[in-house]
């Protein structure tokens, strides 16, 4: 209100409007209202408001005032292209400064990773203990079990799983047609960790279970320890039966642990069944998927390479030896596997 009245008063008086320079800056810019073109589009009221806003800006931003003064001097030095150019530049400068202030405020509010700091405050002994505990199902499910809300261990386990997947893909010469190996591995592992955690958290909210998001992330992250062990072993030793033993044994143990903890925090049979059934199914199926999706090519190659010893083919007419039948069969099998 003050600005409008002042602007109107000034407009009536039709005197030159002086914009005082900031404290540190150089000279002042004098805008002569008499020379102002009426078709410039800014009324006197806007001039007054702008003047007031600029005064407030100057009081706030002491440092940018220098840049503003330099801007004004620059405008003067370039020989005024008319007052419209200078006004426009000042308005643009103002808009820029306000926008920058708001953006930096928003950034410091939302992108502040310091809120995650307490979750990374761990000792190596604690991490080792929790890793081992993640394979031991608890017996007491009648009162809520404690879940450590830390994120260092789960994050490292997810990255380890990424590394193991990458290693598996490289040893089996998996070709990803749309995307990169690294991108696929990271997307799969992080997608599972974050996605399934969120989904189970949502289900826990529906089933009235006492668990927070960080605890769920932590629980599922430590549950990936079993997956890491299983995949590390079975990507290097290729026996299907060995994989199934590990799947049921190691995978089953880590799933049982997570299920037991969740059961201890949920009341009611139906809710327990829904929550734990979903988690168990997703966890075990994920291990199955990782095993079969990322190194299935290996078996075909191994069979072809380690088949019966065959003599090199000779380019003379000869009786087709028995051995080449075996080669034909294994090649066909390999092709069938890849299709």
């Amino acid at each position: 209100r003050w600005g409008r009245a002042r602007g109107a008063a000034r407009g009536r008086a039709e005197r030159a409007l002086t914009l005082s320079a900031p404290a540190q800056g150089g000279g002042s810019a004098v805008i002569d209202m008499e020379n102002m073109d009426d078709t410039s589009g800014s009324s006197f009221e806007d001039m007054g408001e702008m003047h007031q806003r600029m005064k407030e800006e100057e009081e706030d931003e002491a440092a940018e005032g220098e840049a503003g003064a330099a801007e004004e001097e620059d405008g003067e030095f370039l020989g005024m292209k008319g007052l419209r150019g200078q006004l426009g530049r000042q308005v643009a400068d103002q808009v820029w400064q306000v926008g920058k202030k708001q953006a930096s405020r928003a950034f410091s509010l939302y992108a502040n990773i310091d809120i995650l700091r307490p979750y990374f405050d761990v000792e190596p002994v604690q991490v080792r203990t929790r890793l081992l505990e993640s394979m031991i199902p608890v017996k007491m499910i009648n009162f809520p079990q404690k879940i450590a809300g830390e994120l260092y261990g789960p994050l490292m386990l997810v990255f380890t799983l990424v590394a193991i997947l990458l290693h598996g893909m490289k040893t089996s010469d998996t070709i990803i047609r749309e995307g990169t190996l690294m991108g696929t591995a990271i997307g799969t592992c992080f997608g599972y960790w974050l996605g399934v955690s969120s989904f189970i958290y949502f289900l826990a909210y529906l089933c009235n279970a006492q668990i927070t998001m960080v605890q769920m992330l932590s629980l599922l992250g430590y549950g990936l320890f079993g997956h890491c062990i299983t995949l590390f072993v079975t990507y290097n030793i290729h026996f299907h039966s060995l994989f199934y033993i590990f799947w049921l044994g190691v995978g089953g143990l880590s799933t049982l642990r997570m299920v037991a903890v969740l059961v201890s925090r949920t009341v009611g049979h139906t809710q327990r069944l829904i929550l734990c059934g979903t988690l168990a199914a997703l966890h075990m199926l994920f291990l199955l998927y990782l095993h079969f999706a990322y190194h299935k090519v290996v078996e075909g190659i191994l069979d072809t390479l380690e088949g019966p010893n065959m003599p090199p083919f000779q380019r003379v007419a000869r009786d087709i030896p028995v051995v080449s039948n075996a080669v034909l069969n294994t090649t066909a099998k390999a092709i069938a596997l890849t299709l």
Partner: protein
């Protein structure tokens, strides 16, 4: 010996031009090239004729002697690291090492400079976030990049070994594991000595091991 008004008689200490105003006596610490020595004509540095300009490497802040000293620190895994290594951010050495790594991969037939660049950028970013979350004092991105780059040196040995021998047998696996351990041990040693994170060396070493493991994966396969 004098050159263009600069005194090289002190032990390889030189000052980048923008640090000229600090007129502190040279204390003889090799890891702080910003310790000044007094040039005779500081003011006439800019705008004078061609002979008075400093050498290009000096202007860029590249000091081969410092790079060499820091390399030796990395190469001795059992030597205690000085915390003041992190005081200066020197990216010239790491740049040289990354290029050398790419060059040794090239000699083995893998043109993967892009992978090296991408993985080192993402890895440095990840380590930067993690170290900022785990340490009491913060750490700057330049320091993280500098340390991780210097500790890449043993990986260059691995990839040069891969030029002539295949690393996919049992000896290759053992060698790769050893080199990864060496790199991550050096990096974690420097990090914890500079950030005062005693007792957490394993926690810092493991992410470094994962990062160098990915580099090793590029070298091996």
């Amino acid at each position: 010996r004098q050159y263009g008004g600069y005194d090289y008689s002190q032990q390889s200490g030189f000052v980048p031009p923008d640090m000229m105003q600090q007129q502190q006596p040279y204390t003889g610490q090799i890891y702080q090239p910003t310790q000044a020595y007094t040039p005779t004509s500081a003011q006439s540095f800019y705008g004078s004729n061609f002979e008075d300009e400093p050498p290009l490497l000096e202007e860029l802040g590249i000091n081969f002697d410092h790079i060499w000293q820091k390399t030796l620190t990395v190469l001795h895994p059992l030597k205690v690291a000085d915390g003041s290594i992190m005081n200066e951010t020197d990216l010239a050495g790491p740049m040289v090492f990354c290029l050398a790594f790419g060059a040794t991969l090239l000699l083995a037939g893998k043109i993967q400079f892009g992978y090296v660049y991408g993985i080192s950028a993402i890895g440095c970013l990840g380590m930067f976030c993690l170290l900022n979350l785990m340490s009491m004092t913060g750490v700057s991105f330049g320091c993280v990049a500098s340390v991780l780059g210097y500790c890449l040196l043993p990986m260059i040995l691995l990839s040069s070994f891969a030029i002539v021998f295949s690393l996919q047998g049992m000896t290759g696996i053992i060698l790769t594991a050893g080199i990864i351990g060496w790199c991550s041990f050096s990096a974690s040693k420097i990090f914890i000595s500079a950030l005062a994170m005693e007792g957490q060396q394993l926690l810092v070493a493991y992410p470094c091991a994962l990062l160098y493991g990915v580099f090793a994966l590029i070298s091996v396969f």
